[in-house]
């Protein structure tokens, strides 16, 4: 969409806290997996229609500042509701154990996450490449005026896409909740990693983002295993290397 949304990390955080609330109230993780994306889609759509829509023509800086304002609002709301302490929820029943596969042991929840990630990634690539919405969206980003002249209802498409992105971020938050800690500030952490991933992969390329995520994920784990204090340094080096050789990302279009 060519919109930089710093509050995207907040959507992820809200997703995780939604999971926490739902699991605490109903003990049902699957319900959380359903509720959080719907909640965040509504929130994303509302924010897009009321606030962000006015800023598209002003360039990136106002968008960045406004969404930065929203990150402050959201993190404070979360802190006022849940306090500053770290929370955790157990993995859903049936996925708390371990699985033995080819001489190695995996937690079954990790495998479950891997499965969901693959399904969502496949759906995204198919949607981006093959569906009408994907085509419309690519056209809208490439040339707003021309797409509008061809009769495409861009405002509605953008609202839908924004809501969809927010829903995905919320879903990611729910899935991450049993695996990682839930705390106010998790939004900034995930946002930075997401930015690095997107920069490495190339803006406006779903496949690039997938590749970038794989590179960063592997880099981070390797770094954390061999020199834990400086795992972040390895990511830094990877990003520098990509930038030197391919300034617009691994799969990005050359500007």
């Amino acid at each position: 969409m060519d919109v930089l949304n710093l509050a995207h990390g907040s959507f992820y955080m809200i997703g995780a806290y939604t999971a926490y609330t739902v699991v605490l109230a109903t003990q049902n993780f699957w319900l959380a997996l359903l509720v959080a994306p719907i909640l965040l889609a509504l929130l994303g759509a509302a924010l897009e229609v009321v606030f962000f829509r006015r800023l598209y023509r002003h360039g990136h800086l106002p968008q960045v500042l406004m969404t930065f304002g929203f990150t402050l609002v959201f993190v404070d709301l979360i802190r006022s509701r849940f306090g500053p302490t770290t929370r955790a929820i157990p993995p859903p029943p049936g996925l708390g154990g371990a699985v033995h596969l080819a001489n190695a042991t995996f937690s079954s929840y990790s495998l479950f996450v891997l499965g969901i990630a693959i399904v969502i990634a496949a759906l995204l690539v198919i949607g981006w490449r093959l569906t009408r919405l994907g085509v419309v969206l690519r056209a809208g980003v490439a040339d707003k005026e021309m797409a509008g002249l061809l009769g495409i209802d861009l405002p509605r498409t953008f609202t839908f896409t924004f809501a969809f992105g927010a829903a995905l971020a919320g879903l990611a938050g729910v899935i991450a909740a049993p695996e990682f800690a839930i705390y106010p500030g998790m939004d900034a952490n995930v946002l930075i990693l997401a930015l690095v991933v997107v920069v490495i992969g190339g803006l406006g390329s779903i496949e690039g983002a997938l590749l970038g995520a794989a590179v960063i994920g592997l880099g981070y784990v390797i770094g954390a295993t061999f020199f834990p204090q400086f795992a972040i340094g390895l990511i830094f080096a990877l990003m520098a290397a990509v930038l030197i050789f391919r300034p617009s990302g691994l799969l990005g279009r050359r500007s």
Binding site: D2, L4, F51, R54, L55, H58, H60, L61, P62, V64, L65, M66, F68, G69, F70, T71, L72, V73, V75, D76, L77, R79, S80, A188, I192, L195, V196, V198, V199, L203, Q229, F230, I232, G233, I235, F236, M239, A240, L243, I244, P247, S248, S255
Partner: protein
């Protein structure tokens, strides 16, 4: 009506009045407010350095806090290593920040626009992570504490110490004015004009024979060095340096200060820094959920005053 020939004097007259009002603060303000005004001055130096990037060079950096923090740590390490003297400590902050900015700038400037913004943000957060994790150098989240302020021989002979609020405030004011004059001179120099040309049309400037990448990098490093000065002053003022100084919200606040004040005016961002700091402080004194209100305030500003306070003046 004031005759048109006096119009050119508005800005200088405003600046002189502003400087006099600021200089009078220690005479009438309560002690606590002198401290706050000092913090605001330091933040103003930081915001002015960011304006050189955002306003004049058109480089929207979201990682400027990195250089503020590196400056503070460099100054802190030197001061804790028993090196005394204002000039070496400020130089440490300046050169430390500049040395870090050179590689970061060289990499980030290979991109532009939204990419540049994301990259500077990512680099700054990595340095923040480094400040948290490299405990042998930075003591992690505890930070470096007990940083002494420098002693100045000629002040000592007057029996004045920088540990008093008034003198330290004046020191910050003098440095802030010096930074303002420096940045204003840079902005009006051929170098500054070239930067504006590059901001408007990079390709044309290259066709005219300007090495635009080098100009941008020079602006990036210069802005970082000024931010390093602000960081050194912050370390002296607080007496400690923690990773918080490098956190992305600090970069965000500085950008807000630039935009609230109105970019490409230097005075605007400096005033914006005062607005942001006083809003933060005023809200946090009286309301529990001040971050929420601060965020809402910023959102309202972007919605209703996209060109900042200076934009109001220019329209009138």
């Amino acid at each position: 009506m004031i005759p048109a020939r006096f119009r050119g004097l508005y800005r200088p007259a405003f600046l002189v009045v502003l400087a006099l009002v600021l200089a009078s603060i220690p005479l009438w303000a309560p002690r606590f407010w002198i401290y706050i005004a000092t913090q605001a001055l330091i933040f103003a130096i930081f915001a002015m350095s960011l304006d050189l990037l955002v306003g004049y060079a058109g480089l929207p950096s979201f990682g400027h806090a990195a250089f503020y923090g590196v400056g503070a740590y460099a100054c802190a390490l030197l001061a804790l290593g028993h090196i005394d003297g204002l000039v070496p400590l400020l130089l440490a902050g300046m050169l430390g920040a500049g040395a870090v900015a050179l590689p970061i700038g060289a990499l980030s400037l290979r991109t532009s626009g939204i990419y540049f913004l994301m990259l500077t943000l990512a680099f700054a957060q990595m340095l923040w992570g480094l400040a948290v994790n490299w405990t042998s150098l930075t003591r992690g989240t505890d930070g470096l504490i007990g940083i002494p302020r420098p002693t100045l021989p000629w002040l000592d002979s007057l029996k004045v110490s920088l540990y008093e609020r008034g003198p330290f405030f004046f020191l910050c004011l003098v440095i802030a004015i010096a930074v303002f004059v420096l940045l204003e001179t840079v902005a009006r120099s051929p170098f500054g004009r070239t930067l504006e040309g590059i901001r408007e049309n990079d390709r044309r400037m290259r066709a005219l024979g300007f090495p635009t990448f080098r100009y941008r990098l020079a602006a990036f490093v210069l802005a970082a060095m000024v931010a390093g000065i602000a960081g050194s002053l912050a370390a002296m003022s607080n007496g400690f340096a923690t990773p918080d100084l490098l956190y992305w919200t600090v970069s965000g606040l500085a950008l807000i200060a630039v935009v609230v004040g109105g970019s490409r005016s230097l005075v605007g961002p400096a005033l914006g820094a005062f607005v942001v700091l006083f809003a933060q402080l005023g809200l946090s004194t009286y309301v529990d959920r001040w971050e929420l209100l601060l965020g809402a305030l910023f959102i309202a500003f972007v919605l209703f005053l996209p060109r900042g306070l200076a934009g109001l003046v220019r329209r009138a």
